[in-house]
């Protein structure tokens, strides 16, 4: 199963931000509420990753609630890909 690299996911995340005229900071420690990255933005990112993988990444909401930083988002997508 092909996987998408962390850097590729980060670029996709930046693209989601750019659509809203926002900028993704370099630091993975940056809190999401500081940059206005909301749950639907995560959904949009997950759908972009799905399109690349041609696989659905379904998940329950509690996992999403623990995400706090840019790095958490990238980790979560990594974990979802491992589960495929």
């Amino acid at each position: 199963m092909a996987q998408i690299s962390r850097d590729q996911v980060k670029e996709m995340m930046a693209e989601v931000m750019r659509r809203q005229n926002k900028v993704l900071p370099e630091s993975e420690e940056t809190p999401l509420d500081e940059i206005g990255f909301r749950s639907l933005d995560f959904s949009e990112l997950a759908l972009r990753v799905e399109d690349e993988l041609d696989e659905e990444l379904n998940f329950d909401a509690p996992g999403l609630r623990s995400i706090r930083t840019v790095g958490d988002v990238l980790d979560f997508i990594d974990e979802l890909q491992k589960d495929l």
Binding site: R19, L40, S43, E44, L47, R48, D51
Partner: protein, 247 residues
């Protein structure tokens, strides 16, 4: 800080667009200059004529609304032809005219599958396309006054329509800032009523309706148009269109 208005729909999926209200919805979307992708079990000559008259703005296919894979394939094909979808009218449904105690479990399952499960799955598919495509959109559910008032012979049907109204409100909440979700809840259509009721009963119901007339598709279409195309900020609502019969 406030969000900009969600733009008018430009490419709308309509389930069950081959006849009656569905066909009228398709025609009106085209009249508004938007594109439309519609499917039904049977493509009628009227729908074929619309597709032939607007080959660049209409995508039509024979698809069973309960076949999730076929519906997803239809939407992918529609997007290849028309561009990203940003609107949905959940219209396809089957009716009921049987007391609950005389309705088989299999028939109840059919009604729930067609009228509740299928539109939920279709909505999921379109919302996913909206999120990964244009980013914003509008969704309309065609429900029924039966979801709010009790009518004999419509137990399973009413349950599905009430379920859709509930789902609509939750979609409006989940998709906040991205999608306007609403329902239109027509009263009984004159044509439907006349098929199961006698003229005396029809006259009685009409007399009890404050406007003095039953609902016609042309009463419902402008409300759906408003929800698809106008900047109203209406979201998470069920708009009843019944001449005041239920008040």
């Amino acid at each position: 800080m406030s969000n900009p208005p969600i733009p008018a729909a430009s490419c709308v999926v309509v389930s069950g667009g081959s006849r009656g209200l569905g066909l009228a919805i398709v025609q009106s979307i085209l009249d508004h200059g938007a594109k439309v992708a519609t499917f039904a079990r049977t493509v009628t000559p009227e729908l074929e004529a619309l597709a032939a008259a607007h080959p660049d703005r209409v995508h039509v296919a024979s698809v069973d609304a309960t076949d999730a894979k076929a519906v997803t394939a239809f939407i992918k094909e529609a997007e290849r032809k028309l561009g990203p979808v940003d609107g949905l009218v959940n219209n396809a449904a089957i009716g009921q005219d049987s007391l609950h105690v005389h309705t088989s479990p299999e028939r109840i399952a059919d009604i729930i599958n067609t009228n509740l499960t299928a539109p939920l799955v279709l909505s999921r598919t379109v919302l996913r396309r909206i999120l990964s495509g244009r980013g914003t959109g509008r969704v309309v559910f065609v429900t029924s006054i039966c979801a709010q008032r009790g009518y004999a012979g419509l137990v399973a049907y009413s349950a599905t329509k009430g379920g859709l109204d509930s789902a609509m409100r939750t979609i409006a909440r989940e998709m906040h800032g991205r999608v306007l979700a609403n329902s239109v809840a027509p009263g009984f259509f004159a044509s439907e009523m006349s098929s199961v009721l006698g003229q005396t009963q029809l006259d009685t119901i009409t007399r009890r309706t404050p406007t003095g007339r039953l609902v016609e598709p042309e009463n419902v279409v402008p409300v759906i148009d408003m929800l698809l195309f106008e900047d109203t900020n209406i979201n998470g609502q069920t708009l009843v269109i019944d001449g005041g019969g239920s008040i």
